[in-house]
Amino acid sequence: MISINKVTKTFGQKDVLKNINLQFELGKVYGIVGENGAGKTTLFRCIAGLENYEGAIIAHKPPLKNHLGLLLTEPFFFDKITGKEYIQLLCNARGIKEPNISKKNIFDLPLNQYASTYSTGMKKKLALTAILLQKNDYIILDEPFNGVDIHSNMIITEIIQQLKSLGKIIIISSHIFSTLNDNCDEIHLLKNGTIIKSAQKHQFHELELEMKNAIIGTKIALLELG
């Protein structure tokens, strides 16, 4: 379980996260949605311990960071490091001996090529493979479907379901509502650093409609496309 209690994060004068309270339970998939700049990535960085914050984040397996796999929106890759070495780096960091990395290359990535030459989707798949091989109990996926082809999209969805059945906690952010609809048990809507709404599976459609109305409103009409 991960429990987020009264978490507030401030950058200078700006409150990026305001009094966030959330509970994440084992074996469930959670979605975090919100506009760009709503605070999703900052929330993930706080959970990971990459940012200092006010409040408390408690996990049933402390320290949380040592059991957490974090897939960033734009994973960073060193120049002149191959895909295989990237995976090796992440496994070494957790003391995991993975003798057969190539065998676990489910996305058929060119692991002996430099990761910096990969496309956006390939980079994402490489970073995902690496955190999966770390055998984490908590997994945060920031935009996992971004730039990924349809086949890999299906594989990622299946992986999420398997991780869920293994009792892991998965937290996903995505700008594609359908991907959250397919994967999540609960979705939290983040706006200006505050959780303004939480929806259970049966309320997703309602949430989507509500978001559509709030976001689109009369904006398209301003373009006078017709």
Binding site: A48, G49, L50, N52, P63, K65, N66, L70, L72, F76, F78, D79, K80, I81, T82, K84, E85, Y86, Q88, L89, L90, N92, A93, R94, G95, N112, Q113, Y114, T117
Partner: protein, 286 residues
């Protein structure tokens, strides 16, 4: 630090490196011209030139490219003239003008094999970026042993360690520190251990050759290896003592001063920076 201090440091470093090249390298003027062409050649990088061609018309672009190549060539040309190498200076000017007319990929994308793959990232990436430098050092060490110049071959051994230092100059994203399930001390010790093992591996051809041909001078060889280990350790702890920021110029100067002029001072610097590094890493490696 004011910009003028930066200019003074850059000019001083350039002069020192140039003097060292002319002092130590056989056929130094040719090596110097090749080094200059290599550096200027970076300006012909295809992506950079594509961007410039989007910003400027063709004639303007050519004049800009020639001007920047000549400006970058100037310090090399100046130094060659000081050394009386007027023909080489002239050749360098001509080549830099010709290079301005071309664009090409200056980076190699095929994967270079490295013996350091099992412990990424510093040595695999550094080795691949500098493998020509390593080959050059090995070649120079071979020549030095062939002409029975022990001092030069010993200098090559130190060069390997100095080259390894450059692998640690890059500041990694905080994610790559955070991923470790180690406390700060364990993290630093692991980094130092990897650096020492891999730098020994990199230096092993020269160490082996020196041991075969100059066994009677084993104390000097051991001293150089110990010096290499010390400067590597010093750089690693200094790097993380400022993390996540780059090493400030004052710290770099103190480190450089200690490495070059007062190596025993490193035995005070290392524990001091180790302590600082531990507290800087504490927030990421709780």
């Amino acid at each position: 630090m004011t910009p003028i201090t930066g200019y003074i440091i850059v000019v001083s470093l350039f002069s020192i490196v140039s003097i060292l090249i002319f002092h130590f390298f056989p056929f130094s003027s040719y090596a110097y011209v090749i080094l200059a062409i290599y550096i200027i050649g970076k300006l012909s990088e295809i992506k950079r030139n594509d961007f410039l061609s989007l910003c400027f018309k063709e004639k303007k672009l050519i004049s800009i490219r020639i001007t920047e190549n000549l400006l970058c060539t100037f310090p090399f040309v100046f130094f060659l003239c000081v050394k009386g190498e007027f023909i080489n200076a002239f050749i360098l000017i001509v080549i830099s003008i010709i290079l301005a007319l071309f664009k090409y990929k200056s980076t190699i994308n095929f994967t270079i094999w490295t013996p350091f793959s099992s412990k990424p990232f510093e040595f695999p990436t550094g080795f691949r970026k500098n493998f020509l430098v390593i080959l050059g050092i090995y070649l120079l060490a071979g020549i030095a042993i062939y002409v029975q110049n022990f001092n030069l071959s010993l200098f090559c051994l130190i060069l390997v360690f100095l080259n390894s230092l450059s692998y640690y100059s890059m500041l990694e994203n905080d994610f790559f520190v955070w991923i470790h399930n180690l406390n700060p001390s364990e993290f630093l010790i692991r980094k130092i251990k990897t650096a020492l093992i891999y730098s020994t591996l990199l230096a092993s051809p020269i160490i082996l050759a020196l041991t075969i041909f100059y066994l009677q001078n084993w104390t000097y060889i051991l001293f150089c290896i110990a010096y290499g280990y010390t400067i590597l350790t010093a750089l690693i702890v200094t790097k993380y003592s400022s993390y996540p920021y780059p090493i400030p110029i004052q710290k770099s100067l103190v480190l450089g001063f200690a490495c070059i002029l007062v190596p025993p001072f490193l035995f005070i610097l290392i524990p001091y920076h180790f302590g600082k590094a531990k507290s800087e890493l504490n927030s990421l490696l709780k």
